[in-house]
């Protein structure tokens, strides 16, 4: 019987060790930049993020074209209804336009889910524009979507309320039933309410902003018949996958 031998090689060859060394050095450099010079890191990786954003935008545009056509027709009908409502609202707005309101800074989104594995947005405004950690971030329509978690000179990271296991207080339904919304990633939320709570599918859900701000509706309710709690699945109006700009509360008068 012929015995076969194989020469045991080290885990990594010299060439691979060299490549790994270079990689580790680059990662350490990026880590140092992120920690001490976030502006420099932003400058280095911005071109790559821009290309990535362009690529994902193009791919999403091709796959969604049929849906977009259907949505366009529905939106045309909705537009006519909204334009008449707009006239009414404008007359009301004229009465309150001079009242002092919080100021915000408009920021462009450089990276968003699913590019970022966490429910995090990278936006292009930072301390230079008066952004501070903890500032609230709003999407179109003044819908609050998260808070600033980390801020550099010219960029910030926005932690979305929909981040996994993030809890946010708010209300559900016409009766403003108080609930705790739990982030489920990818823009989704759930909430638990007692079975006898007066909330139903289609009810609007609210987050605290300037007053109660509608941010979505109850899409589904489910729960065990023997359980005293019902779980609500919430569909937010804002899709973090398609956010292109946000407003960050700066707090400066």
């Amino acid at each position: 019987m012929k015995t076969q031998y194989s020469r045991r090689t080290s885990v990594l060859s010299a060439q691979k060790s060299l490549a790994l060394g270079v990689l580790v050095a680059v990662l350490v450099l990026l880590f140092i930049l992120r920690t001490f010079f976030p502006t420099a890191l932003s400058f280095i990786v911005s071109p790559l993020w821009n290309i990535g954003s362009m690529v994902t935008g193009t791919v999403a545009g091709i796959s969604d074209s049929a849906d977009v056509r259907e949505e366009r027709d529905a939106l045309r009908i909705e537009r006519d209804a909204l334009s008449s409502e707009n006239v009414t609202l404008q007359s009301r707005l004229a009465e309150i336009v001079d009242m002092p309101t919080g100021r915000g800074v408009l920021a462009q989104v450089r990276a968003r889910p699913p590019l970022s594995p966490y429910d995090v947005l990278i936006v292009d405004e930072g301390t230079q524009a008066g952004v501070v950690v903890g500032a609230m971030v709003y999407a179109q329509g003044g819908v609050p979507i998260g808070t600033i978690r980390d801020v550099g000179k010219t960029q910030s990271r926005v932690m979305l309320y929909s981040s996994s296991k993030t809890e946010t207080l708010g209300w559900a339904g016409e009766q403003r039933y108080p609930v705790t919304f739990v982030g489920e990633s990818a823009g989704a939320f759930t909430a638990s309410v007692p079975r006898d709570a007066e909330v139903a599918i289609g009810d609007i859900v609210y987050l605290p902003g300037p007053g109660a701000v509608a941010f979505g509706h109850i899409e589904n309710t489910h729960g065990d018949a023997s359980s005293p709690q019902t779980t609500l699945s919430i569909r937010p109006y804002i899709n973090p996958f398609s956010l292109t700009s946000v407003v960050i509360e700066t707090g400066t008068p």
Binding site: Q4, S6, V11, L12, K16, A19, L20, L23, V24, L27, L30, F31, R34, T35, L41, V45, L48, W49, I51, G52, V55, T56, A111, P114, L115, S116, P117, Y118, V120, I122, R149, D150, R157, M159
Partner: protein
Amino acid sequence: MTLRIGIIALALLSPFFFAYPYTLLLSFLASLYFAPIALCIGVLSDVLYAPALFTQVPVATLLGLVISLLALVVGRFVRARIIEA
């Protein structure tokens, strides 16, 4: 050789270009050729996207570590089967 380098380069750039499920897949494929690469990609993802570097669990780094170890085991198994054959 060119395919290897291509997959590894694509995997390294994927945190900038692709959604993270594709990054995971590419990391695993690249790890079959060069096991530590998934860990490196995990660290890169955390450096780029983690909301806070020091106060939260580095999920991407840990995932990268798991993928690297998995690729190492799969690679060893495949090589052992080839020698047996």
